[in-house]
Symmetry: C2
Subunit: 335 residues, 2 copies
């Protein structure tokens, strides 16, 4: 048995499983709720309104510029809580490991999860590890589920009205391009880093400043275009965005042109897309710009009454096009 | 694109992802908390003490006698909450699907999860689906995380004392043998069904009857032997069990003999192992026997002061042996 690699016995619930948990997971994520290593963690949440979310991460490759699957698994779930207006508190973590994975690789990923959790102040309190035979998974898949405390943000969920404005907290498409390039399948060397980051700070600033935010999302898989389509789907209003208002890095723009991709459909992992009441957009933008993560925040569009249920783009050359949901060539395993 | 199979675009966050969610998942698990299909579910848990758990399921094969990966994913996580003394309330569900999986197979699994959830009264409130390329996973992996409301069970967690007794709620080893036989790798046709079932009813009966339970587990991977070893690990007490007291079906016993396995190390998916205060064991056994799931409950052993930190077995021939943690040939992908 090679001691440097994951073997099937690491997943059988016996001694090697226990060693793995104690030497790698429990050490990295040490906290009082995790310490009993019991079947469930017991949490002190009395009197709090709760948000609950889950995501599995299968990103390929598992390491990519500025990030890795572990960091993504923490920030991705933390961001899903944040955009619902919930302060991230607790995470669970389920690993599926492929037999033969180097233990050093697992350690690097766990260390990355540890730093990411500490950065946001979220505790990893319960976990599970399964090992499957070589060839039955691709290195490592991670599921994180998260529990957050719902803020008392009264405007959240209120019905959008024409004139309400839409903001994005920064440049779009970096994560998608960074992962695609890191795969090495493309003859493309573009220095794009993933934007993988926790958006909680941005969200809490908007909350503390009592911005009238009605809706918020983090535009991951399917990008800004898909989130906006989900916003208007079956509703009595539409959305119009201005192509020239969308912040995009030059490097991402070039990559998109070469690859025939639209940045509006690319995944982001450290951005928020939000809808604020008419007249609040400039204040919201200035608040976001005070944070490092929101320096390039822009107002990109507004709610319109007609056509309902559609997302329109005012193009740079002055025309208008409908922005549908992603329905073309899929970009698999981007998160 | 073959409409009967999972394709990569089912996981890209666009239109096909949406269709899959609406037509399969949202329909099966319809409930008010899931309905918004937002990034997190918002839960009404105010004033409750919470237990939180997670498990990934990679069982192979995905269908086996009396059960399947979906049922297992619901009951397994529900049981992890139950044995911590928590009433199961909410589940999340993360699917990792292999490209090419038949949609009919996914539907069967989802239907099974739906029935299982309804049987226990637990709501599946948030989910996620990823699709990986053919060959990068084995058909389907499911993660479920669960939230439960902690009962006010004051004896739970109290220190075990010599003379405290240990009970098992029924015959052991069925799940492990059922899955091994269902793989078809063995030249073995033994009619053993998995015991996959929710133990919540058993747990709540013991609670309602105010049984002085100090510790409870569901002996899954690693079996009864591993759970008992975790109980005594590093503690100032040991455990002695009687080999002749352990309930085992004849069919499981024969299979174990042929395969060279010890039922004490085999996985169970519908049993509880509990430690009750001295003098309470017979009452606990009679309470369990009132439930269909506990008809074969037995008192199997007791807490001893010496040797500390060890699990001993009084064998049928009158000797004594130490029962270590599982450390032999692993039984991979049993759950």
């Amino acid at each position: 048995m090679n001691k440097n690699r994951i073997v099937l016995a690491h997943g059988d619930g016996g001694r090697l499983s226990r060693n793995l948990i104690e030497e790698i997971f429990a050490k990295a994520f040490a906290n009082p709720e995790l310490a009993p290593l019991a079947d469930s963690a017991l949490l002190a949440l009395t009197g709090k309104r709760i948000a609950f979310t889950t995501d599995s991460y299968t990103v390929k490759p598992i390491f990519f510029p500025e990030s890795d699957i572990g960091k993504l698994a923490v920030f991705g779930t933390v961001n899903d809580l944040s955009v619902m207006g919930a302060r991230p508190l607790y995470l669970s973590c389920g690993f599926i490991l492929e037999e033969g994975l180097e233990i050093e690789v697992l350690k690097r990923i766990v260390d990355s999860m540890k730093s990411a959790s500490e950065m946001v102040g979220v505790k990893l309190v319960t976990g599970d590890t399964k090992v499957v035979e070589k060839g039955s998974a691709d290195k490592i898949f991670i599921n994180t589920s998260g529990i957050g405390e719902l803020l008392n943000w009264r405007t959240m969920g209120k019905a959008p009205e024409p004139g309400d404005e839409i903001l994005i907290s920064g440049t779009i498409g970096e994560h998608g391009i960074a992962v695609l390039c890191a795969r090495g399948e493309l003859e493309l060397k573009i220095p794009v880093k993933s934007d993988c980051a926790p958006v909680w700070e941005l969200v809490s600033m908007l909350y503390q400043e009592k911005v009238n935010v009605k809706w918020m999302r983090d535009p991951t898989r399917g990008g800004v275009a898909t989130c906006l389509n989900e916003l208007v789907l079956g509703q009595g209003f539409g959305v119009m965005i201005g192509e020239d208002k969308i912040p995009v890095l030059d490097s991402v723009d070039s990559a998109c042109e070469i690859l025939g991709l639209d940045p509006l459909y690319l995944a982001n992992e450290g951005k928020i897309l939000c809808l604020v009441k008419k007249g609040e957009a400039e204040r919201a933008r200035e608040i976001m710009r005070k944070s490092q993560l929101g320096k390039k925040a822009e107002i990109i569009g507004e709610v319109i009454s007609e056509p309902a249920g559609k997302v329109l783009v005012r193009t740079k050359v002055g025309g208008t096009r409908v922005l549908g949901m992603l329905a073309g060539a899929p970009l698999p395993r981007i998160c």
